[in-house]
């Protein structure tokens, strides 16, 4: 075993964070397993030919194979203890998720856009687990994770910086009019139409404010605070709008949680010692 491999034991914080993100991304993709099967049956029974996509990116068979391969690659990445196998699985996941982002049957599903970013982070981290001292690597991994989570929330915010969202009209039409979800059913049962429309306005403004604040500021918070805030915000989005959004958000929740694995700041001497000890005691 090379000295480089000795410094990152399989239970080190970066390795644990890496595994957590793989499991969360796997859970995100598995969250839509039922709907995916139903959709795949539709794609198989009703193919759609259009000039925009290359023929192979319209194929239901390609979609099925890529989706299944992604699940397998994520499971391998989460479980294996072999560095090379882990890196191969991470690269495979990134490649497969890239295909899911551009396939006719899945391009519009933000599940795969968020999974793409967690896969990119994972691919980078998989290549560093056996190279860098755990504590320093974990700080960089957490910094990158909160930059990515902030950027994705900013992406949601920017597209809503419009009069139609600020007035609540868009979310009123999408959610408040007839969406069968506990929160909106409760509001419809409790409020008259005018009040419901007002609530839609403030609900929409709340969404814009939270996404904007997190998008612009989450990356600058201390790692643990960023992790807690990020996990709370991402979870609340699904709980108060649509449980199926967990397929989009679970991978990000895992990515945000990476910040929890950063050790609290310590005096310079202690920290130097910590990395040295880790390098001498890989177990």
């Amino acid at each position: 075993m090379s000295p480089v491999q000795e410094i990152t034991p399989s239970s080190s914080p970066p390795t644990t964070a890496f595994r957590l993100v793989q499991w969360c991304t796997l859970a995100a993709l598995a969250w839509k397993l039922g709907p995916f099967v139903e959709m795949w049956r539709c794609y198989y029974a009703t193919p759609l030919r259009q000039s925009f996509f290359p023929t192979w990116l319209e194929s239901s068979l390609v979609l099925l194979v890529v989706y299944a391969a992604t699940l397998v690659a994520l499971a391998v990445a989460a479980m294996t203890v072999h560095p090379k196998r882990r890196q191969f699985a991470a690269w495979t996941t990134l490649f497969m998720v890239s295909l899911l982002c551009i396939h006719q049957g899945s391009y519009n599903d933000m599940t795969f856009a968020t999974a793409w970013w967690t896969s990119l982070w994972s691919t980078w981290l998989a290549g560093r687990l056996d190279v860098d001292p755990p504590n320093r690597l974990m700080k960089r991994a957490a910094f990158l994770s909160r930059c990515i989570v902030a950027m994705i929330l900013l992406g949601g915010a920017v597209g809503k910086w419009t009069d139609e969202y600020w007035s609540g009209q868009v979310l009123y039409e999408i959610y408040f009019v007839d969406r069968n979800f506990w929160f909106f059913n409760l509001l419809r049962d409790s409020l008259d139409l005018l009040t419901l429309r007002d609530v839609a306005t403030w609900y929409s403004r709340k969404v814009i404010a939270i996404e904007t604040l997190c998008g612009l500021g989450l990356w600058a918070l201390p790692p643990r605070w960023a992790a807690i805030v990020g996990m709370f915000v991402l979870t609340s989005i699904a709980v108060f709008s649509n449980f199926s959004l967990f397929s989009v958000l679970l991978s990000l929740i895992g990515l945000a949680a990476a910040g929890l694995f950063v050790n609290p700041p310590s005096p310079p001497d202690c920290e130097t010692t910590s990395d040295s000890v880790a390098s001498q005691n890989p177990s």
């Binding site: 030919r49 551009i102 856009a113 930059c147 992406g155 920017v158 597209g159 039409e173």
Partner: protein
Amino acid sequence: MSESGDLQPTRTDLGFVAVLLLVVIVVVWLVSMPICQFVQRATLERMHLQTRPFVAWVIQQPIPAMYNFYNRFEIRPSPWGKEGDDSTEKGTVNHFPVRMFTFGDNRAVFLSEPKPRQLDVWSSYRGEELHTRWVATPSAQGGFDLTNEVVEAVK
């Protein structure tokens, strides 16, 4: 060692720099959207599958766009009814409005019978609007052929 010192990548960690740079590029693209017509048009065209060449659309796909823009649709059976007909399905959709024909859960509803269907989609963002029309025609090979035209380009 300070926090900022720990974030300094080691000399060989080009991956960290590359991913961070990519994030920065996407952030610059996103924050310029409200003020830059080029970004607005590119994103509207991306949402309506109008970007050419295809690789330019592919490159944009990782850019987060959840619940972006005001996207409306109308679906009419053949013969195309007039706007507001009882047979017209209309609504608002979160993003990528052409999904009403392409995505599985919608395709199963709107293209369940081998009859022609017409889909009109509008997306607007801060004064820019794109309107495209899509026609799904039953194919002899099974399924549908989907053609489209830009009815009204971004202003």
